[in-house]
């Protein structure tokens, strides 16, 4: 059932730190009904386009719609899968190649639900959330990225 409250803000300024991911895992140690976690980490890739290497992606979004869309995706994951917890964070602004820009974390009693729900949410976010990325090359020029 849909909760009647404002969607959570999933956006974090800049890269998602490995410390945030570790802390998030640690916070779940008190939830002893969980038997399996799955984590997806999206990382900025140093693609080479026309001989020029991507140094960073500068993310922007239609924030209100993206938060609402991602909240709906998370709610639908709870409807489809037997989940204990689900957390989603996405970067806003500049994230350098090699840094983390998406963190999806699912927890369930058993592994299959954790795997399946994590994959489901990642695919849905990529397909439905109005997030835009400017791939910035080492020379400062840029192109707009599009999910395949």
């Amino acid at each position: 059932m849909k909760k009647n409250k404002a969607p959570k803000n999933v956006f974090i300024e800049g890269a998602i730190s490995p410390e945030k991911i570790a802390t998030s895992i640690a916070h779940h140690q008190v939830k002893t009904n969980i038997g399996a976690h799955d984590i997806f980490l999206g990382q900025v890739r140093a693609d080479v386009l026309d001989g020029k290497k991507v140094a960073a992606i500068d993310y922007s979004a239609y924030t209100e719609m993206a938060n609402k869309t991602i909240d709906d995706i998370r709610e639908s994951a709870f409807d489809k899968f037997d989940l204990t917890c689900a957390h989603i964070y996405h970067s806003m602004g500049k994230v350098k190649a090699g840094e983390i820009c998406l963190f999806v974390f699912t927890s369930s009693a058993h592994r299959q639900m954790a795997f399946d729900s994590c994959q489901y949410m990642v695919e849905e976010i990529k397909y439905k959330a109005p997030i835009f990325g400017k791939e910035i090359f080492e020379d400062g020029e840029y192109v707009w990225k599009s999910n395949k």
């Binding site: 992606i57 239609y62 998406l102 976010i125 990529k126 835009f132 999910n147």
Partner: protein, 79 residues
């Protein structure tokens, strides 16, 4: 009647703004708004994009009225 217009990504660059408003005397529709802004920002015609009305993606022409918000959304690149 005022309609709030938002541009994102490459389209905000072409329009040189993230936001504007559209004043019209009567209710309109999303196709008319698209046509209007494509005539102002001709570079839009060379781009792939979709429209959202009040934060819902549109897949058909829809009525647009006072206070509504139309967003011009280029391809998504999250993750």
């Amino acid at each position: 009647m005022t309609i709030k217009i938002k541009f994102f990504g490459v389209l905000a660059g072409i329009a040189s703004t993230n936001e504007t408003s559209f004043e019209i005397p009567t209710e309109t529709n999303s196709d008319a708004i698209k046509e209007h802004f494509e005539s102002i920002f001709t570079g839009f015609k060379n781009q792939q994009y979709q429209l959202a009305l009040n934060q819902q993606l549109l897949n058909a022409n829809s009525k647009v009225g006072d206070g509504d918000e139309i967003a011009f959304l280029p391809p998504f690149a999250g993750g």
